[in-house]
Structures are given as structure tokens and as C-alpha cells.
């Protein structure tokens, strides 16, 4: 199970990095959405995956049975999902506003903040 998920996470990372390296903002955003899911799966997997043994401490013991899944990474994933979801929502709005104002979704053409033909600085005092 872990091996399968690890391969899936690898595919997710590869796809997201490919998308993030492209020039269209919308593709970059899709890449960011996928990388967020890749990270969540990664943390989820790091806490051991098993359905057979419930993570409940038996009455006569102090620790949960060996081999049960660790619930803490799942709590971390929940936190990470909430945070990355809200930030992603903000990014979507920001990208849409930028598209409206700048009239392009190609990052090469977004040169308002850094114009291409900047004058040379004074060469002396």
C-alpha cells in the first residue's frame, strides 16, 4: 500500500512541477493545487497506512497495538488542507484580477512591475 502511494505521490510531484514551470498562470495554479495534494498524501503516508488494526489502546495496555496507523499525520493533513485551500482560493482570485487588469495570463508578458526597457542607471557621480 505504501509503495503504491509513494509512486502516486511521485507522479503527482512530477506533474505539478511540470505545470508550475509553464508560462500560463492557470497552468501554474493547477500545478500548485496538485503539489498541495501531493504533500498531503506524503504526510498521510508517513504515518503508516493500515486499516486492520484500529488505533485504539486496549484496556490492559499503555500504548496502541503495534502496526496501527498513526493518527497525528492525519490531523496535520487536515490542517494543511484547510490552509492550502484558503490560500489557493485567494491565489485564484488574485490571478483572475491580474488577468483582468493586465490582459494576459502569460507570465512573460506581465511586465508592469518590471518593465523590459528599463533605462540604464547613471554611470558616474
Amino acid at each position: 500500500m505504501e509503495v503504491g502511494l509513494s509512486v502516486l505521490i511521485g507522479i503527482f510531484f512530477a506533474a505539478s512541477i511540470y505545470l508550475i514551470l509553464s508560462k500560463q498562470i492557470i497552468r501554474i495554479l493547477l500545478g500548485i493545487a496538485i503539489i498541495g495534494n501531493a504533500v498531503n498524501l506524503l504526510i498521510f503516508t508517513s504515518g503508516r497506512l493500515s486499516r486492520e488494526i484500529p488505533p485504539i489502546i486496549p484496556l490492559d495496555q499503555d500504548v496502541p497495538a503495534l502496526g496501527s496507523a498513526n493518527p497525528l499525520p492525519q490531523a496535520l493533513v487536515l490542517t494543511a488542507i484547510v490552509i492550502s485551500f484558503s490560500l489557493f482560493a485567494f491565489l485564484l482570485v488574485l490571478a483572475f484580477r491580474a488577468y483582468q487588469e493586465l490582459g494576459t495570463d502569460n507570465v512573460d508578458e506581465m511586465r508592469v512591475a518590471e518593465p523590459a526597457d528599463q533605462p540604464k542607471p547613471p554611470m558616474g557621480y
Partner: protein
Amino acid sequence: MAGENTALAIGKAMVTAPVPAADWLVIAPLIVTMMGGALCVMTRKRTEYQPQIAFVFLTALVAVNIALLSHVTNSGVVVMVMGKWLAPFGIAFSVDTTSAILSLVASIVAWCVGLYGIVDVNNTGRRYGFYPFLLLLMTGVCGSFLTGDIFNLYVWFEVLLISSFGLLILGNEKIQLDGALKYAILNFTATTLFLIATGLLYGLIGTLNMADIAVKVKTLPDGAPLGAITALYLLAFGMKAAAFPVNFWLPASYHTPRIVVSAVFAGLLTKVGVYALLRTLVMLLPEGRSAMAEIIAIIAVVTMLTGVMGALAQTDIRKALGYLVISGIGSMLAGMAIGTGSAVAGTLFYAVHSIIVMTALYLVTGLIGRMGGSFDIRELGGLYKGSPVLAGLFLVLCFAVSGLPPFSGFWPKVILVESSLKESYYWVAVAILLTGFLTTLSVGRIWIYAFWRGGPESAPDNSEEGKIIPLSESLTGSQAALWIPIALLVSLVVVIGVAPEAMFRIVGQGAVGLIDPSAYISQVLGGAK
């Protein structure tokens, strides 16, 4: 019998004694800024109250941070666990000298920016939420400095990130949306990388508490993939700190927002990245750091040199200052690469100096823009006639940022050069000195062009073009709110430069705590408070 056992176990696993009053100081900065931020959100329709509310809470923030620093320097690391779960199970806030001094300097800078903003941010800016975002940004910054849990650090990073988005696009202008988009995407990627590294680290050692990580990393078998995790942390926080080659979001965005926003960003955000690097590389993963010392040194040298060359190539003062922020990050990374006690102290000292000086430079630049009507050094000139005081203050800051005595930038550079020579990193020492020289050229040119020469290029004497706009023309409120923050920051620069003993003691203590965290560890894990 089971019941007895449970009671015993609870006594061992939970804090049952009440928290001492002084230890509440640990989370006081967060409480103060959150309450202030919430009040400012509530008064979003009565923006005339917001400056007063923010001023009260930012003053309180400075006060509790002063109390926290004195408490920490007197009685060592202070720990408070949330929900009364003992560390490493509960989320711990653990404050050592490093955290406390950075938190204090950050809050002083925020106080100055809040005061400056009373006049500089108009009612539109307030309606867009300048004060709530500023206070919540401080929640994120102070939380990052004070927390002792690495996942919690991620959460505070996101808090400060979302507030910084809000501040960056205050006003919704075209140029701001362009800069903010690049800033937002790259910073979001950086925090995602941080989360990946943390997930892998947790998978490896099964804990998130920083003290516990520092203990357990040492017991790992050989061949554990710590190098990859260290490299991921270096990439993630290097991106946050604007280290070459992952720093291009900074020059793309730092000149676009209002000058107060640029000032608080230049002061705080990159330095939070530097703090996180210190915490993870120096304290938690020292072996990974020493294995990568050469790489960090190369990154440091390239960062400081490309930064200052970028500054030399700019005509817009705000852009040049953005590049100088990057150049300073290079010097801080150099101390981390060398990694001895004095070098880490130098990094910490440089961070404190850089927070104060970069904020002050941006605030002064705001006045230059008001008086000269432009931020472009080709269009400026003769401002010395308009305000000799401003020319003097800017010159002091130029000396400080270049690392010339007797101002605050001199001492960290002395420590860094000395410790790099001692560890035979001669090329790093040469790079630091060369950077200082080039910085002097770059800020000196700004000063000469904006203040010293008679008027703008090719403008005849006494023409309309070179006219100086008196401050009273562009201001409705009192000018004091603009001058007091600048005067306070410049006097800090002078005081630290002339009498650096207190700062030496504090950063020395902080560096010792980072390099040998045994006191930190015993306080967090053994301190049954």
C-alpha cells in the same frame, strides 16, 4: 487499580500545576496582536478609530516583548505548552534569547510603521485593511519567532503570508497585482516545500517538537536521509529569505506597494526566513548543515554580490533598496555557512541590524518621494535644500547599511569577517568586504543624486522641474508621525553602533543557545512546570 494508574499517568503526561504568571509572557505577543487585529476588523467601517487602536496594541506589543526579553535573559529558556499536554506531545512555545530579541526588534519596527502609517496611509488604504493586516502580520511574525513546534511554525508562516498578501495589494493597482501574483505564487511554493520537508522529518523521527527533534536526530542510524531533508529546508527557507537563485520574487514585488508596506516587508519577512534557517539548520540539523557548509557559503557569496550589483543597476530607489535587502541576506547566510559560535552571533546581529536599517531606509525614501515627487534618482536632486535633517538621517543609514563605523552595520560585519578568516573561509571574507564597498557606492550614488547635486538632470537652476514639494503640501495630518519613527530607528542604529556591548551579550547568548541546545532541550522536555 486502573483508575489509580490513569491518575498517575495523567500526572506524568499533563501539566497540572498552574502556569507561573511570568511565563504567560511567552504567548502575550500573540494575544496582544490578535486582539488588536480583531478590534481593527470590527471597526472596519469606522476607520478613524483604527490608528488609535493599532497604536495602543502595538505599544503594548513592544512592552510585552521588552518584558519577555528581560525574563529570558535573566532566567533562561521559557516554555509554555498549550492545552497542558507535556512536551513533546502538546504544542510548545519555547522562547530563547534568539527568539526574544528578534521578536522585540520586529515589534519596534511594527510600532514605527504603524505610527508612520497614521499619516502615510490614507482613508482608502485603511478601508482596504492596512491596520488589521499589519497587526495580524505581527501575529504571524511573532508566532514564528516564539513557537517551539515545527508544524506550528508552518501555521505561523501561513498566517504571516496571508496577511502580507493583503498588505501587498492594498489599493488594487495594476502594478501591485502584477508584483503580488509573483510574490504569492513563489512564497506559497516555498511554504509547500517547507511542509514537504516537515512531513519527511516526521516520517523519519516521529516528532514535531523542536527540542525533541534535536535529541532524536542524534540517535538516528547512519544512512538516514537527513541530507535530503536539510537540502529541502535550505531551499524552502532560502526562498523565504530571498537567497540566490530563488529570490526573484523580491525585486518583482517590493517596490509595488505603499512605502510603509515595503518598509515592514523589507524589515521583517526575509528575516523570518533567516530565523527559520538558523533554527532548522544550526539547531535541529547541525550535521546536515556542516555537510552542506560549502554550498551555503557559495550561495551566500553569490547572494550578496548579485544583490548589491542589482542595487547598482537601478534608478528607482525602492528597487535598489530591495536588492540591498537581498545583499544583506547573503551576509547572514555567510555566518550560517561558517557555523561557529561567533559566526552565528554575527548572523543574528546582522539580522537585528538589517531589520532596523532596511525599514528606516524605506521610511526615509517615503519622505524623499513626497518631497521630490519621484523615486527615480534621475529626476531627483537638490533635496538637501529642502531638508538638511533628512539628508543627514539618510546619510547615517547609508553608512549603516554599508557597514561603516560608527553605526550598527559595522559590528556584525566585523564579527563575520573575523570568524570567516579564523575558519579559513578567506574568499567569504573578501566577498563581505567587497559587498560593503559596492554597497557604499550604490547608496552613496543615491545620496549624491537625490540630495547633494543642485537639481535633476539637465534642469536649469530654479526651474519648475527641480522644485521641492514641502511636506505640508502633500500631508493633511501632523508631520510628527512621519519623523518620530525615522528618528527612533536612526537613533537605534547609532546607539547599537556606538555602544554594542549589550547587543553583543544578547546575540552571543542567542548563538550559544542555537549551537548547543542542551539548556533548551532540558527546559522543554524536562521542565515539569
